[in-house]
């Protein structure tokens, strides 16, 4: 009799590494219009298939097709296009500002603009997002002043957060944007708690939680699902699967489960996957989930399938870990171009007007940037006083902190 065979250790890896040819042929992508649209009160067990397909509206010919189409007017779509273009331009300028040493750090959304911009339009005033660092589209589409965003990035004298937070970790209660933490996943369970509170008070507001594919491995993601499912909290739980954490591909967090959306199934939470590069699809699915929450039908999990075209942050170099051309090979296309082409096809837009809009948006962003820089950047010009540093740790400053402020001479 032979002894037991030695075990072998398994570490999953991406399909290709730099030097290889990008290949998404094994990624199953549903056809536009193919996935059904259940009633919002459908029983979770009857829609388990939606955790494995991809809800898509825009087809290759730039038409909006299938049961999830037809919810938005031309004017709304044009507004959505403008939001995405603004976010993209804002990102490009701020990325450059970081390279010029005007701030320490920046994180862009390139390729993911539809997710937060379209989702925001499904919410009502008073609803609360618990975002991560890659959902600035919630602010842009929610009408938050771009000047405030830039001043936060520059930590200048007008920074609404007084220089206490890293760039892009915005906070605006008024605009339904919970203060972003640098610790991943913590806000997911907080979103559920906020939603529970709204239900406990008999309010009508709902919450939305946000997390990246990599961060779903954190315990707080699972805490969020347990609480949301136990108390049927009125919350929409978003997972933005942009294929990569920093250098770590999504399979490291996902392990053997078929999809991230499938994580919801064991909790009895309806789980849908959506084409995150399709503004219409994201908006339609968001409306469906928000409608469920609003009707007291409980939580929904949405996996937004997208691709992080840019680097993780200004500190990252993706060419080290993935093929340069991988983003071009991404089968779901570019959200801005797809919506642009759809609007052109509908006769509501033209290439000419698109070019004009690009130029117009760029000059607006530059004008706001000039204004922001007039109030200082991280290393030059006016910034928040050192005295501010001691404020706001507690509601009223305790004696020991007061003594320290005196010692600091501010």
């Amino acid at each position: 009799m032979s002894g037991p065979t030695p075990l072998s250790f398994h570490v999953p890896g991406p399909a290709v590494r730099p030097g290889g040819a990008p290949d998404f042929s094994d990624v199953p992508i549903s056809r536009a219009g193919e996935v059904r649209r259940p009633e919002v009160d459908a029983a979770p067990e009857d829609i388990r298939d939606l955790a494995f397909s991809i809800i898509r509206v825009l087809n290759r010919d730039s038409e909006a097709v299938g049961p999830w189409a037809g919810l938005l007017s031309d004017a709304e779509l044009l507004e959505g296009l403008r939001h995405m273009m603004t976010l993209r331009t804002f990102d490009a300028r701020m990325q450059m500002a970081q390279r010029q040493g005007k701030t320490s750090f920046y994180m862009q959304h390139l390729g993911e603009e539809a997710v937060s911009c379209a989702f925001r339009k499904a919410l009502a005033p008073g609803d609360m997002n618990f975002p991560t660092y890659r959902q600035a589209g919630l602010l842009i589409a929610g009408g938050y002043p771009m000047l405030d965003m830039m001043c936060q990035i520059y930590s200048n004298e007008l920074d609404p957060l007084k220089g206490r937070q890293l760039p892009v970790l915005y906070s605006s209660r008024e605009h339904g944007f919970f203060t972003v933490s640098g610790n991943l996943a913590t806000q997911y369970i907080q979103a559920v708690g906020w939603a529970m509170a709204s239900a406990m008070k008999g309010d009508t507001k709902i919450a939305a939680g946000w997390i990246g594919d990599g961060s779903t491995a954190e315990s707080d993601f699972h805490a969020g699902l347990v609480f949301a499912s136990t108390y049927k909290a009125p919350v929409v739980l978003n997972i933005v699967n942009n294929q990569w954490a920093i250098s770590t591909f999504q399979g490291i967090a996902r392990g053997g489960s078929g999809t991230f959306a499938a994580r919801g199934l064991g909790f009895g939470i309806p789980a849908l996957r959506v084409d995150g590069n399709d503004y219409l699809a994201v908006h339609a699915v968001a409306r469906w989930a928000v409608g469920r929450a609003r009707r007291n039908l409980g939580p929904t999990l949405i996996e937004h399938v997208t691709y992080r075209v840019g680097a993780h942050s200004t500190s990252d170099d993706p060419s080290v870990y993935r093929p340069k051309a991988e983003s071009d090979a991404w089968p779901l296309g570019d959200p801005v171009l797809r919506l642009r082409n759809h609007l052109i096809r509908r006769g509501a837009w033209s290439e000419e007007r698109h070019r004009q809009a690009e130029a117009e948006i760029l000059s607006t962003v530059i004008a706001v940037q000039k204004e922001a820089e007039g109030h200082g950047t991280l290393h030059s010009g006016p910034h928040p006083s050192a005295r501010d540093m001691f404020e706001g740790v507690y509601e009223t400053m305790p004696p020991h902190l007061r003594r320290q402020r005196q010692q600091g001479g501010v």
């Binding site: 906070s171 203060t179 933490s181 369970i189 708690g193 906020w194 919450a207």
Partner: protein, 337 residues
């Protein structure tokens, strides 16, 4: 006014607050239907309904994280972690989230919430039911840390904590739930029903956070203590025959430097006592404060008596616990120095 145990006083505090403010909600493992493993929340669900007092999954990070979200909404959660030893999974939510919301949002979001947890040893709870983690909280900016040692203070401090607009860690020395404990483990415990500090007024009153209490006036040496150690120090002072002044800190952050400094300036000597392990314990902070503020009054080095730097053992609990004999020895030593 009635005599109450600390458990009853704590329950009474939550009851008073829930009555006065609809936004006060109570939850945690086993706290709803059953009333908590120590019965601190008994009856609250029956009285206020399930959306004010309810059971939570066994997920400490979830309990604290959900409370942070509720507090951001505008509720005032008063949550229970079953034993302080189980707060570690929730530590990130306490330290990185609750403690910093106000600061990082410039006041747009705040975490007015209380995290209650039983602490300390003396009940043969072994390593995972005996710890005193206060220093892990006092080190964190944005948190307040409170340790009551009797029913009167427990109720008044807890009401103040629930009404406070900052996150408060409320550490309940479980050895004191049913009566004071003087560290004489072989002697029967006097129940609170026979102790003056068991008198608890009805209705609403507060004991302000940040104010220490002089438990025993004395002229020879100041003992800085909190929680169970207040009673241990009293016994030790009698055993040593030393005219000790015992200062019960009640809240560790904010701390009452005025009372501490005035007492040490008067006595010229200081012993710090706590149950938590010695190294980097809150006693280190206290002795540094005394050294910085009272150096010219000191006639002897500040001494610390604390738990040893080992995990809390089960069978050797009484060798670990800083009992009256060890405190008495320290008192004599500073008197002879």
């Amino acid at each position: 006014m009635a005599r109450k145990t600390m458990v009853e006083a704590i329950r009474d505090a939550m009851d008073v607050c829930m009555q006065r403010d609809d936004n006060v909600v109570v939850f945690g493992e086993d706290v709803g239907y059953f009333g908590g493993v120590f019965r601190c929340t008994q009856g609250l669900q029956q009285k206020y309904g399930e959306s004010r007092c309810f059971d939570a999954p066994i997920n400490e990070s979830g309990i604290v994280g959900a409370a942070v979200g509720m507090a951001a909404y505008g509720l005032r959660p008063c949550i229970e972690i079953q034993f302080a030893d189980y707060m570690y999974p929730a530590y990130d939510q306490i330290v990185s989230e609750a403690a910093r919301l106000r600061y990082r949002s410039n006041g747009q979001f705040t975490a007015a919430m209380v995290v209650r947890m039983p602490t300390g040893g003396g009940i043969f709870g072994g390593q995972t039911h005996s710890q005193s983690p206060e220093a892990l909280f006092t080190h964190v900016s944005g948190l307040k840390t409170v340790v009551p040692c009797n029913p009167y203070d427990a109720k008044g401090l807890l009401i103040a904590a629930i009404e406070d607009n900052d996150p408060v860690i409320f550490l309940e020395p479980k050895r004191l739930y049913n009566g004071p404990f003087d560290g004489q483990h072989d002697k029967p415990v006097t129940p609170w029903a026979r102790h003056a500090l068991g008198e608890v007024p009805d209705g609403h009153y507060t004991v302000p956070l940040g104010k220490a209490a002089i438990r025993r006036a004395g002229a020879a040496v100041t003992v800085l203590a909190y929680g169970t150690m207040v009673f241990v120090a009293e016994t030790a002072a009698e055993q040593a025959g030393v005219d000790a002044e015992i200062v019960d800190l009640r809240s560790l952050v904010p701390y009452d430097l005025e009372t501490i400094a005035a007492s040490v300036a008067k006595t010229g000597r200081c012993v710090v006592v706590h149950e938590a392990t010695l190294t980097s314990g809150f006693g280190a902070e206290l002795s540094a404060l005394v050294q910085e503020n009272c150096f010219y009054h000191l006639e002897a080095p500040v001494m610390r008596v604390a738990g040893w730097d080992t995990p809390y053992p089960h069978a050797q609990e009484w060798d670990y616990f800083p009992g009256p004999a060890r405190v008495a020895r320290a008192l004599k030593a500073v008197m002879e120095a």
